[in-house]
């Protein structure tokens, strides 16, 4: 279980996050929503080690993550995607995913130099793992395509495949539906559900309410760097503070 306690991030005088606390139950799909500038991506960056929080702590299965480097956090089974499309641009889809499989490989420097026979077996295993992940996101026909040459929607799927290849237990998705067409969003929603069925926990930041309300078990609403509401999608949609935060209103909720 991921537990965020009193997480605070300040950039100089600007407070991006102010004592944010929430938990993500194992096997759930949890969405973080909020207006632009609410601190959603900042929270992601602080959880995954890309940003050093000014205060508070993040634990996963009671082990502290705060202060660890992103790669060390990935090794503990927490893998993220990025808001801006983020692939290895010059590499083929297959090589993108093979790179994502980094932690599943074991070959060290000297074993590689010695050209051990078991390395070839490991490479074959990795290649078949990569093929499985590529098929899972539905890019089987694009295996050899260079990532940067793919249409935007497919690049986002590559990104998802790279993250899944790293075998996360907790997958953090930063706006997986951003900039996608309606049908592409449906595909992504379906993929997120199937990812959860495979036993992964998913935490996502998303603006598209159809995605959020359609797949989430729990929705957390951030505004002005604080959690203003948390609950099931139906309860959140009716929550007065949330409506005020999104639509504006007389009371100074923000």
């Amino acid at each position: 279980m991921l537990a965020v306690r009193d997480l605070a991030v300040r950039f100089g005088g600007v407070t991006a996050l102010e004592r944010v606390s929430f938990e993500v139950r194992p096997g759930s799909i949890t969405s973080v929503i909020g207006p632009n500038g609410a601190g959603k991506t900042t929270a992601f960056n602080a959880i995954t080690g890309y940003l050093k929080p000014s205060g508070g702590r993040v634990t996963y299965d009671s082990v502290a993550l705060t202060g660890l480097r992103p790669s060390a956090i990935a090794r503990r089974g927490i893998v993220r995607t990025f808001q801006k499309t983020s692939v290895f641009p010059a590499l083929s889809v297959e090589d993108n995913v093979l790179t994502g499989l980094h932690l599943r490989g074991t070959a060290g420097f000297f074993a590689v130099l010695a050209g051990r026979r078991r390395l070839a077996a490991e490479e074959r295993k990795l290649a078949s793992d990569a093929a499985a992940v590529i098929d899972f996101v539905g890019l089987g026909h694009r295996r050899r395509a260079i990532a940067s040459a793919l249409p935007y929607g497919e690049q986002r799927l590559v990104e998802l495949a790279v993250a899944l290849a790293a075998k996360p237990r907790l997958l953090l998705l930063d706006e997986p539906g951003a900039g996608m067409t309606g049908s592409e969003k449906a595909v992504v929603s379906g993929l997120i559900r199937r990812v959860r069925e495979q036993g992964l926990t998913v935490l996502l930041v998303e603006h598209d309410m159809r995605i959020v309300m359609g797949i989430s078990d729990t929705v957390i609403v951030l505004n002005g760097g604080r959690v203003i509401a948390e609950g099931a999608p139906a309860a959140i949609q009716a929550h007065p503070e949330v409506i005020r935060a999104y639509l504006g209103g007389p009371a100074g909720a923000a």
């Binding site: 995954t48 890309y50 480097r69 992103p70 790669s71 060390a72 990935a74 090794r75 893998v79 993220r80 995607t81 990025f82 983020s86 692939v87 290895f88 641009p89 010059a90 590499l91 083929s92 090589d95 093979l98 790179t99 994502g100 499989l101 980094h102 932690l103 490989g105 070959a107 420097f109 590689v112 130099l113 050209g115 390395l119 490479e123 990795l126 050899r144 260079i146 990104e159 790279v162 993250a163 290849a165 790293a166």
Partner: protein, 329 residues
């Protein structure tokens, strides 16, 4: 490069001394081989991790001086001196790698330039050890058991072995998960970290292997020219290496070798053909044209052109080139 092509090239390289009768031509071949090792070394950093080391001559020079000093002052034989030269260069690479972790891009370039500058100053001023600007003459030629490798033909095969070993090291690294991690750092460092690629580990590893190979080149150079002076740290050496890597095709396995051969042979050919003012002019113009028309380098261009040419003959869909630009090769 295809397997068949590689075998043919290797056979041609092995047979070279039999049809290069002139010692001068053999000398050019030896220098091309030494620069081949250096260019492959630089390519590991520049082509695969994407970090430009403009102080690469420092590792080359450390290798050259270490080997020369150990054989001259301590009467070591060539082989252990070579080993220590490689190890010391690797150690320097380790420190540069650690230092460079916080710095990328232009700052990394500056650190490497400064490092080469400092080492060069030491070689000029630590006269008791290095004999200062006068350099160290009389570096002994290596021997293999009872056989001296003093002859150009023998030395050619020694250098060729080093080229082969360096190529093998690069190839095994590049085609492993380690190579994928290096390329991942070049392509998208935050994403690489997010899937568990340890930046510290892999950048330092690349710097160490790269520096070790440059040290190997330095030691081979010292025992070939039999003379080492602070000139080994000249910026020209680094620039030549960069030109070779970029022109040949950075981030490909064969590129640095192609670049090394071309840019060792070209100045010599020009020297035979024109007066010195024209040499530099032609060299410069050729370089500009090459970079302008083949921005990814010769090898990626060939890899892209060959399936196209083959396609016009056989009309069958060509397989994607294994050394396709600018992916890992």
């Amino acid at each position: 490069m295809t397997r068949g092509g590689g075998v043919i090239l290797a056979a041609a390289a092995l047979a070279l001394p039999f049809w290069l009768q002139s010692p001068y031509h053999l000398h050019v071949a030896i220098m091309a081989g030494i620069f081949g090792v250096l260019a492959m070394s630089l390519n590991l950093l520049l082509g695969y991790t994407g970090q430009l080391s403009l102080g690469h001559a420092a590792f080359f020079g450390i290798g050259a001086y270490t080997s020369a000093l150990l054989t001259l002052k301590l009467d070591w034989s060539f082989w252990p001196a070579l080993g220590v030269a490689v190890a010391l260069a690797a150690l320097a690479g380790f420190f540069i790698g650690r230092l460079a972790l916080k710095l990328r891009g232009a700052y990394f370039v500056l650190v490497t330039i400064s490092f080469a500058g400092v080492i060069s100053l030491v070689s000029v001023n630590w006269i008791e050890l290095t004999n200062g600007p006068l350099g160290l003459p009389g570096v002994p030629a290596p021997a293999l058991g009872p056989w001296s490798l003093r002859s150009k033909t023998a030395y050619y095969y020694l250098v060729l072995t080093a080229v082969g070993l360096s190529y093998l090291v690069c190839r095994r690294l590049v085609r492993s998960r380690i190579g994928r991690a290096l390329v991942a750092l070049r392509e998208n460092e935050p994403l690489a970290e997010s899937v568990g690629v340890d930046v510290t580990h892999y950048l330092v590893l690349a710097a160490v292997v790269s520096a070790a190979m440059a040290g190997l080149g330095g030691s081979l150079y010292a025992h070939y020219t039999r003379f080492v002076s602070p000139e080994v740290f000249l910026f020209t050496y680094t620039v030549t290496m960069v030109i070779m890597v970029v022109a040949g095709g950075k981030g490909t396995l064969a590129g640095p070798l192609v670049g090394a051969v071309l840019f060792t042979v070209l100045p010599e050919a020009l020297r035979a053909a024109a007066s010195w003012q024209w040499q530099m002019l032609v060299y410069g113009v050729l370089l500009v044209l090459l970079v302008f028309f083949l921005p990814h380098g010769i090898v990626p261009w060939l890899a892209g052109a060959m399936p196209r040419l083959a396609g016009t003959v056989s009309a069958s869909p060509a397989p994607p080139p294994p050394d396709a630009p600018p992916a890992r090769g």
